[in-house]
Symmetry: C3
């Protein structure tokens, strides 16, 4: 019998961080039409952005990729809080990845794989969403990566 | 009895600007699946971008936040023209905010609150959408902010 | 009797390129709620990005506009592969256009018209989607433009 996303998470030695707190009058997750939109996630720890700066001047690509993975875990934590559990996610629909870049860096897609790979590890083929990845000038509070997630629910 | 968004707008001393005119062969609003997508809004007045430039070198953050509010009013004007009235909006689903930034500016989320706060003032909890805010290198016609809105309709 | 998108494509002397290959563990297209999301498209030829660089320092705006057209053809190719044919597209819902810009360039909307105009040529009014266009610092593999497409299906 296939393992659930929660079981896979445990097998990977991962756990969901606390659900993210919006930095303004917006919602962590909204639902309509059998879909759930998660607000863009920047990785925070103890109230501060982790590894602020741009890739790859301040933040090595491998670290940025790991931050994409952690931002995705934050997004999943928001979804689990809203939907009751990760098992209520039917499939990943779209992943938006923004990478704050230094001049000369052109490998945003490799950074974004930190998010995509985790979703496939947890949800199998249902975790393979569409994806749009861009390099941006800056992100809120100097975050190096921001991950936005859209999923279909039951 | 709860006031309608149109009543709240009037109480705030605000009114909807004329519906925006697309700068190309695209639509102000499209509808599908009980949702309505509004094209990205940059604030125009008399055919010109208001306060062109980047935040905070050319445009102070408080001005940019007010422009987010005005861009949101433009988006709502487009929706009212398409749907008949603001009362046809069931809830705000997603807000996308792009802020054209100067080097060293990292408070895009505060700028974006100009959009989010207005939506909650007008629609109450139904105005609290998910949100993705990023800092970008430039926006069309040197606009300092661009606001994209997705809502659920009746 | 109205011509089909496939017939219009032929009349324009165009053909669909091979369906794009994702650069990571994501899907070319995902479907849910009667909608289909296409991953962000950068124009590739023989495995390399066509005309890498920023607009307008490295890539003239007219070339970038033509690349938007080609990126849109790639997106349509991905949709045709997923849906069986272009005729399964009921309408264009949203177009996201990212333009990698050099300092001083502010006409991203004209570049984006390369995508919008093609969609209206092929699908008529059903091709007129909502649109969000922004200028960004960089795109994966130094691509000058990236086009993201959301359509409603039958």
């Amino acid at each position: 019998m296939a393992r659930t996303p929660t079981q896979r998470l445990r097998e990977l030695g991962l756990s969901l961080p606390p659900p993210p707190t919006p930095k303004g009058s917006y919602a962590p997750v909204t639902r309509a039409a059998g879909l759930a939109w998660v607000s863009g996630q920047i990785v925070f720890e103890n109230g501060a952005v982790v590894h602020p700066g741009t890739v790859d001047h301040d933040v090595p690509p491998a670290v940025a990729s790991e931050l994409c993975r952690r931002a995705t875990l934050q997004a999943l934590s928001a979804l689990a809080a809203e939907l009751g559990s990760l098992e209520a996610i039917r499939r990943v629909v779209r992943l938006g990845v923004f990478v704050a870049v230094s001049p000369g860096f052109h490998r945003e897609h490799e950074v974004a794989n930190g998010a995509s790979d985790l979703l496939v590890e947890l949800f199998g083929e249902a975790g393979r969403g569409s994806r749009t990845t861009v390099g941006v000038a800056d992100l809120p509070l100097h975050g190096p990566v921001e991950v936005e997630l859209l999923v279909a629910t039951d």
